[in-house]
Amino acid sequence: MSIGVAHLSCREMVELVTAYLEGALPLGDRMRFENHLTACDGCTMYLEQMRRTIELTGTLRVDDVSPEALAKVMHAFRDWQVE
């Protein structure tokens, strides 16, 4: 194996996607990753779909609390307030 000039296969690329998106790849690997992307439609598509997946997953977040649950918790608060 020739370290340094080793080129990444698609099979290796897909394992590095999260590290790439997290900015956790060492410089050399990041350059190999980006080089591969410029020449590979399959990996470009895979990366794009991972990005879409993350984005769509984020739409599941709902940040409200039901009035009943809030009333119950606030009731507990008032009990605690006078403890």
Binding site: S9, V14, A19, M45, Q49, R52, G58, A76, F77
Partner: protein, 203 residues
């Protein structure tokens, strides 16, 4: 909207300020509920766990030292409450699952999709944008996350649903940097695959 800082909220809570507590409940009740569901079998048990967590927050606030963020501290109380509850109910995520260890390698993409050379044999094809935005697609994602192994599910829920940072997740779940990333990667890869199977099923 301007958010009060942790320090301000803690100080106001210690002064028994009701509005401060209400703000905290608005901020964290929904994510706490979702998080609690990972430990206990029913939605109603999860609600109990969250209610107990809020009591724990009130009872502990005078002793909160600010060594972790308020959010991390609250989620730790939840994890402890839920763990006790889950054990009693006969379902809990074994916390040993979070311990460091060699998990067997799981490829992000089925090996059969690559040629012997490691290049794509069956590369991913473009997704139909119009279907991506349907409610049904969100339900597919929700189900895919529910089907993940517990530790992957927690990491994906906190990172990608709740939008926590890698460090916040590592601290809350006591994971190493590498483990956090590996769990996230495997979980995301499975959610992507579920989307692909759903979106491409009749093409």
């Amino acid at each position: 909207m301007e958010h009060a800082t942790d320090e301000q909220l803690v100080e106001r809570l210690r002064a028994r300020d009701e509005a401060a507590f209400e703000e905290l409940v608005h901020r964290y009740n929904a994510p706490l509920l979702r998080f609690a569901r990972q430990f206990v079998p029913t939605a109603s048990l999860a609600e109990d766990v969250v209610a107990d967590t809020w009591l724990g927050v009130l009872r502990g606030i005078d002793r909160f030292e600010g060594r972790s963020s308020l959010k991390t501290w609250i989620f730790r109380i939840l994890a402890n409450t839920a763990k006790t509850r889950g054990q009693r109910e006969g379902r809990s995520v074994p916390f040993s699952a979070f311990e460091e260890g060699e998990a067997p390698f799981e490829p992000a993409v089925d090996r059969g999709r690559f040629l012997g050379s490691g290049s794509w044999g069956a590369p991913p094809r473009g997704w139909p944008e119009d279907r991506l935005l349907r409610d049904e697609t969100r339900a597919v994602i929700e189900q895919a996350i529910a089907d993940l192994p517990p530790t992957q599910r927690m990491v994906v829920s906190l990172r990608d649903v709740e939008g926590w940072s890698a460090d916040e997740v590592r601290n809350a779940l006591e994971l190493s940097e590498t483990n956090q990333r590996v769990l996230l990667h495997r979980g995301r890869a499975k959610v992507r695959l579920a989307l692909e199977e759903y979106l491409m099923e009749d093409t």
